[in-house]
Symmetry: C2
Amino acid sequence: MEATVAITEAKQKKGKPDPETLQFGKTFTDHMFTMEYEEGKGWIKPEIIPYAPVEIDPAAMVLHYSQSVFEGLKAYRSPDGEAVLFRPDENFKRLNRSNRRLSIPPVNEELLMEYLLQLLELEKDWIPDAEGTSLYIRPFIIATEPSLQVAPAKAYKLFIILSPVGSYYPEGIHPVSIMVEDHFTRAARGGTGTAKTGGNYSAGYNAQAKASGEGHAQVLWLDGVEKKYVEEVGSMNVFFKINGEVVTPELNDSILQGVTRKSVIELLQYWKVPVSERRISMEEVLTAYENGELEEAFGSGTAAVISPIGELTWKGTPMIINGRKTGEITKSLYQTLTGIQTGQEKDPFGWTRTIS
Amino acid sequence: MEATVAITEAKQKKGKPDPETLQFGKTFTDHMFTMEYEEGKGWIKPEIIPYAPVEIDPAAMVLHYSQSVFEGLKAYRSPDGEAVLFRPDENFKRLNRSNRRLSIPPVNEELLMEYLLQLLELEKDWIPDAEGTSLYIRPFIIATEPSLQVAPAKAYKLFIILSPVGSYYPEGIHPVSIMVEDHFTRAARGGTGTAKTGGNYSAGYNAQAKASGEGHAQVLWLDGVEKKYVEEVGSMNVFFKINGEVVTPELNDSILQGVTRKSVIELLQYWKVPVSERRISMEEVLTAYENGELEEAFGSGTAAVISPIGELTWKGTPMIINGRKTGEITKSLYQTLTGIQTGQEKDPFGWTRTIS
């Protein structure tokens, strides 16, 4: 991979959006980073160019066999105006883990970080500063070789696009209602669930529509083998506080290794709150609920950071968690994590990377 | 959907490829069919245009969440020069089943057939006539809305592209070696396995690489729950002839409803060969092998039509089937199906559609 990035500046700059009405992932900045992979040459042509539609062959393999991976992270504006990234190295490590699962050639993580920093340098005015807003960063790789053969492509394109996003909780953090999905499966043992690849996401639309139709915000996914063990919530990892201990499903090849998940565990350990990663069944969650020991529940992910769960419905039976109010641990995690991410709180872990 | 297709002819026509050196899915014809979907308007703008790269927004949802479906069928050149399609209605029915699973709006199957016929009318000279060659037809739909929200898109594009393909067996039909995959999973119960969607295909590349590395042509997939029951072979359905009876795994939500699979079953019933669709475990296959009752095995699919299996390796133990020779039933199925498809044999089932 070449270290020198060719930069072509956009002739016309777009107006910055109103932070009050920003949606997630609908507005994009003036520029994007792109890089290509050619067999025998590796990753070549790193460049920053104006954000615009690109040409793609109708036979490009990504459009047929979904050979693609992506990442998601955020840049926040700190109180003194600097751009702050949260554990970006974890995202680039995971990108390469996803690449391996999808037979996509690996990228040089350090160089990719340099490219991202150059892009952010150019686009820093796009990082919004209103409470709860941020600049969402979406690196992704697609198979571009024009071929209908069912096999890994010989050509790829990597993009980094940037999208200013509004607050996930414009009216303050609030618990949501979740439905346990008994029929549809997000990811199987031996499947692609631990990779951030498109197929895992569109596979969940049917279940999400069913849950929405019954008034729930999201779906809780069970394991694909026995439909017994908790895996994820929507596109977040999930935690339960049971009788003083915080429990999250242990990593397996169908659970995404969330960066926020990892940070929650490390933060709880730092606070000396008992936390364990282990298999947890819905039966165990229900029993804890019936015994009055299900104290809190929440999802974790880049978009919401922490999303408290107020109600969890399994086989038609709703469990009301903490009187539908955000629990103490949930609230502390949200405040500390967003505090560190936005540079408003001290970062004792060295998680943040500040770009002056 | 509008019935009138706007046609823009290519200014320059490409030369036709040499049928002897044709690969699968690498060469495309002069024109393609495209149509768009807009929320509130439905499927609009059906048109035939020159085959060329198209513009796509880097945030197009297909590139991030793999919301896409596809189909595959072939047009053959009959001995009297006509174009022959094999059960195209089955492909369009399946396209809409895939659409439902992937939350993509349905298409009007009859109109889509009309569009395909118009495209084939324009491109009929591209149907090769050498033994075993055909024109592969690839309809596909992709989510084009530029948005990073994890939700069904509000805009789509449908394409039909055409690719002249060489003989699958340039040196005559021959049995292949298959490895049973114990770790990786193609599709889970409740997953997307019964839909023709990209994510099912790239998910299998790792396993295919492992099998190729050990000298096998393809992978045999087991069920994602118990890793016990036979599901598919590579991207084909699979059949075993055991003690005079032909057995294929019964359809479930992780097995693709192959058009060739259906035709094989109907042809065997017509011939009064015992055939059954039921769950079949690898244990049962191995026991039949040890008892000398595993008489034939083959895969079925649009690309190869019928692919005899000469060797099947499970947990390191190879089973040699019919002395690595193509079995009688396998051979009859191949000859009759390809005979009907190419218009060289009588079609007592009304499966073919001839375009004069």
